[in-house]
């Protein structure tokens, strides 16, 4: 993955954008660049996003080995020691640019509700993750994480910096209710934007 691209965009965002809040990353500075909701497509208005967007999406698709992936969310996250991170859902990934004690635990579940309780952990490295068929580890800088069909707990212990992305999986979960056609349309929009 071309991490220089993600670093450049992150540096621009931190320098020029106003930090935001996001429910997934409590007490962190966040910068939302892209989000698909049921009725709108959000794009950050900062001009650099227009410049890098297609390249960023292509890099992510290449990394997850799915050239047709519909990326539905992209957020830059700058943590503090006080940041609390909601469990990362399936089909989501992390691109760590700076890891200051950032810790992750990949869990054997598809539902975030099953792992929400472990969000409280003060010292996740002391937890016996293997007893729950889970894998706990310090997250390395520049090592992209995409646990695919498994959810992940994440813990901040300092000032880390990472990108969070989400691949739309509505069709996978329920093909009947996912409105496949509208997703295909959005996918086309994303490619042609």
């Amino acid at each position: 993955m071309n991490l220089q691209l993600f670093n450049e965009l992150a540096n621009t965002a931190i320098k020029y954008m106003s930090p935001q809040e996001d429910w997934r990353f409590m007490q962190a500075d966040t910068y939302q660049f892209y989000n698909i909701t049921h009725n709108s497509v959000y794009n950050a208005t900062i001009p650099d996003w227009r410049k890098y967007k297609n390249e960023v999406f292509d890099e992510i698709r290449k990394h997850i080995n799915n050239k047709d992936a519909l990326i539905s969310n992209l957020i830059l996250v700058k943590t503090t020691p006080h940041t609390i991170i909601h469990p990362i859902p399936i089909e989501s990934g992390i691109i760590p640019l700076k890891s200051d004690g950032l810790y992750g635990a990949i869990r054997p579940y598809t539902n975030r509700d099953k792992v929400i309780r472990q969000t409280y952990l003060h010292s996740p490295w002391m937890f016996q993750w293997n007893q729950d068929d889970s894998f706990g580890f310090y997250i390395d800088e520049d090592k992209v994480l995409f646990p695919g069909g498994r959810v992940m707990n994440m813990y901040s212990d300092g000032e880390s910096l990472f990108w969070y992305f989400k691949i739309d999986n509505a069709f996978k979960i329920n093909p009947i209710t996912s409105k496949r056609n509208s997703l295909v349309e959005k996918r086309q929009e994303q490619v042609h934007e």
Binding site: K15, Y16, S18, Q20, N35, T37, Y42, I46, P47
Partner: protein, 288 residues
Amino acid sequence: MSKEFAVNIRQAGAFSYEPNTQPDVDETLTNSKFDLEPIKIFVGTSEYEDNWIERILVYSLHSNTERKLDITFMRPSWSKDWNKRMWGTPFTNHRYAIPELCNFEGRAIYMDADQLNFRDIEHLWNTELENCAFGMVWDPLNKNPKSHEGTEYERGWFSDSVIIMDCKKAKKYIDPIEEIKVCDWNYKNVFQKNIHSPYRERCEDIIVKRIDARWNSFDGCVTDDECEDRQTQKHYELEDIWHLHFTSLSSQPWHPKYSPFGKAPYKRQDIADELWKVAYKVQDIVDI
């Protein structure tokens, strides 16, 4: 003006603006507007969460005028002991304190922080108010109190997010600060009643002078265009906007941390681009 209230722009982390007193520079300033009284501007804002847009607003105001500006940020910490029940923002009723803070003398401009200036603010400052106490833009879509629902007065009133005021004349319509701060009914309602809202015929050109809508364009809209809703309202071309108000917390091109709303796309990319041009300049200066 009370000391704690006068948070000047230097304290707010933005830009100070002092006329250069060096002799060689003085020559270049002969007959310039530096000798005129400063334009008093009061900005309603949050404690620190809006610093980003505050700096941009201040920069845009200075870059479009030769006049000295006396900018005061009105922050929530100033009004800790005020009754803030039913306030829509952390600074809703601060604007009504302005005439008294100016000792009921001269003029003052009020504006919310989430705005961007495109035209010399001196033109607004010099707006002819005739006998009126206030100058505001007419907003035909402004929702009036529920008691007027179903009547011809259901919608339409003057927007108070940009106000030019004659502080002496304003005294007649605004109560003393000591009364505003204890008001249990959101003082905005009291003020609106004092200026006969929503009865336009009893207010326009008597108490409030309707000013050019380009001084408070809501996200590029022709704010005083008579229409059904904001979606169908006419828009100004970028070069016709004098002063722009980013009205919706959810769709502002930035998202202050206190906003409880979801993030929505901003519809006018041309306006957003202008905002970012200023944002880049401001941040480059701050980083020096």
